[in-house]
Symmetry: C2
């Protein structure tokens, strides 16, 4: 493992200085290699699938593990998308001149070596490798044990693409063992060889990474997201946003888990919103006022206000205006993504200012919490930590910066 | 300690929303309170000094601990300087509109709660408290045990200033015990109440904080900074920059510790540079080529290339051009601050691009590694970590950001 880290660091030095066209040639060659080797990748995946079936895992697990020709094509297309993104490295973020004539600029540079720990979704191998490469970083990938053969086959294609463009194959490495102790070593940072860890997967994985990592982590543990419907909300807009935020896809981290309704609108807005959710097949758990609005509502417990269902279930509560909504969100939320629906601009600004979440929205669905929807092109995840990366983590967030100072002989008095 | 954390978090919520004029009124009242209470602060400091003298600490320690009327005035003036800085909170860093009409902006917000751990320099209490406040953060301060009475007296003045402006006194708290276990609890983050730790002090303190902290740390452990004098350097400029970088103040983290001289300039530049340093009272430890240049040079061991002397000592080595200099710096440096002196623009750009340090300079002294010299107004320290804050840590670096999204009813397809 220590050797893996040293090789990643050496590769990172090369990648940090690689010109954009060379990185893009590598990404193109990687996509081609994925397409050319699809039969071999499918064969490796079939072995993973057979072993997983024997171990009796759930059908949803098998679905995430399975590769098909269409999924392989999508993986290759994803590499092309990343190739089309702007290269963040070298972007001057700020520049100014000091009274003594020194010109200072803050310029984006790669972070270095990124560790990615994920579950048995083989496509993450290509996604994470490509995003890291575009931003000039080396990656060390550790996928789920059940996808080990698939991961190796995909990584082989990526390494071939790197080599074809004259870049070090060590820029995208896979942890060569399924030993769980290897994850522990990666989380310790491999003697300073790993700059940041990105976990991709369920809460158990993220919690372990956050608890054990000795290097910074870009992650979110929970997405307990709220939609607050204010008394000044247009009811039709509120219905459309609430339905989308909860039901478009219930399993994504940007899905709404709690609906807060202004007490001043309880008489007009509460019943139609709750009926709409129930009619759409969503279970509703509510406080007393919500249960009074519809007999199908079941009682909410204190746990419901802090639960990320990731399912067709929503907790609904009546609150006292925007301040009541903000207090509830600050107490129970996970600082991921929260939305207000209101036609009152002043109330909206209060919410946008006071809710301390990575993403706050006015009159838009929480399901926009996504790097693609933000225009980042692609993302490696969403972070709720406050430092460095907050919200969608795209290529820009996989860089850091340094200061370049150009003088003409200045010395400090 | 847990209660300390909870109160800091509650204060941080208030501070995050405090308008600039209110924070500035607090800073003005804090400066006035420091001035008004200077007799009481001096009395508290006299007790600290008496106890420290009895325990037989070094004279340099006593000098850092001692407050005088002039030092108290400087502390109050420092609060006025911070008051004059721009308020970073609310600054829109980027904004764009998506094809669906959603307007997205990335806006600066406070980090939250900052823990500052420092040695027995009472003035850090005021400096750190003021910078954190300006950026809308609460702080928990833990100064050295020997300065406990001074720290409490200063914090009392700061709290009075906060109260006068209607801000919570808990925004600037001092750990109320000298028990060393309290530092451990602070480094654990007080159950999520602390967002980042800033250590201010010597290597022992910083190393302990980096090893034990379970929250992010803004710090630098070493400042093994280099000046590389290229063959194309103007000798007079090289002499002036090297002398300033090493000797202006030898104890600051931006001081140069190693001089690298291009082999192609050894015949012309090495001897005058080494003689100048020796004549200025700087001990020179060199490789064979350097020793040949002046008989007063003593041999350098491998350790010298990685030593931060913080003293009138310099290690000098002859390297093969800019690539040799970069290789030496990447191998032995601490990624803090490194400079090249050359009249060749192409060589300079190679150095600025390839040296992976927080600050890289061309034709300027490494002693400019300072928030004030960068125009940040004030700094809480210098960071060599790659994430979030890198280089001088000023008020901007004590903020994070969030995304505000303004829509007109958008839902995600």
């Amino acid at each position: 493992m220590a050797d893996l880290g040293r090789r990643a660091r050496a590769a990172a030095h090369v990648l940090a200085l690689a010109p954009t066209p060379q990185k893009d040639r590598a990404l193109a060659a990687m996509a081609k290699a994925i397409r050319d080797r699809s039969a071999a990748i499918l064969a490796a995946n079939a072995e993973d699938m057979a072993a997983a079936r024997q171990s009796g895992v759930a059908a949803s697990f098998l679905d995430r593990l399975e590769l098909t020709p269409a999924r392989i094509a999508a993986m290759a297309d994803g590499l092309d998308v990343v190739r089309g993104l702007h290269d963040p490295v070298g972007t001057v973020l700020e520049h100014w001149t000091r009274p003594n004539g020194m010109a200072i600029e803050r310029v984006r540079v790669p972070i270095g070596v990124i560790g990615v720990i994920y579950e048995s979704r083989p496509n993450v191998t290509a996604d994470a490798g490509a995003l890291a490469l575009k931003a000039g970083n080396a990656v060390i990938l550790r996928g789920g044990s059940d996808s080990f053969r698939s991961t190796r086959a995909i990584q082989g294609a990526l390494a071939a693409g790197l080599a074809e463009a004259g870049l070090p194959e060590d820029a995208i490495q896979v942890v060569p063992t399924q030993d769980r102790a290897a994850v522990g070593l990666l989380l310790q940072g491999l003697d300073g060889a790993v700059d940041v860890i990105v976990p991709r997967g369920g809460k158990g994985l993220v919690a372990r990474v956050q608890a054990e990592a000795r290097v910074p982590v870009f992650a979110h543990l929970d997405g307990v997201n709220h939609v607050y419907v204010d008394a000044a909300a247009d009811l039709d807009m509120a219905k459309s946003i609430v339905l989308n935020a909860k039901m478009r896809r219930t399993g994504v981290c940007g899905a709404a888990e709690t609906l807060l309704v202004d007490r001043a609108a309880a008489a007009t807005h509460l019943r139609p919103l709750v009926a709409m959710l129930l009619d759409a097949g969503c279970a509703v758990r509510g406080d007393e006022a919500v249960r009074a609005a519809d007999p199908r509502v079941t009682p909410a417990s204190e746990d419901d206000w802090v639960t990320e269902y990731l399912d067709a279930i929503i907790a609904v509560k009546v609150v006292d205006g925007v301040e009541g909504a903000i207090a509830h969100i600050e107490r129970h939320g996970s600082h991921h993504t929260d939305a207000i629906v209101t036609a009152d601009a002043h109330t909206a600004e209060t919410f946008l200012r006071e809710v301390d979440s990575a993403i706050v929205l006015h009159n838009a669905s929480t399901q926009f919490a996504d790097g693609g929807e933000f225009g980042f092109g692609a993302e490696i995840g969403i972070a709720t930590g406050k430092l460095h990366a907050r919200g969608p983590v795209g290529v820009d967030q996989l860089t850091t910066f340094k200061y370049r100072v150009r003088g003409t002989g200045q010395t400090r008095p």
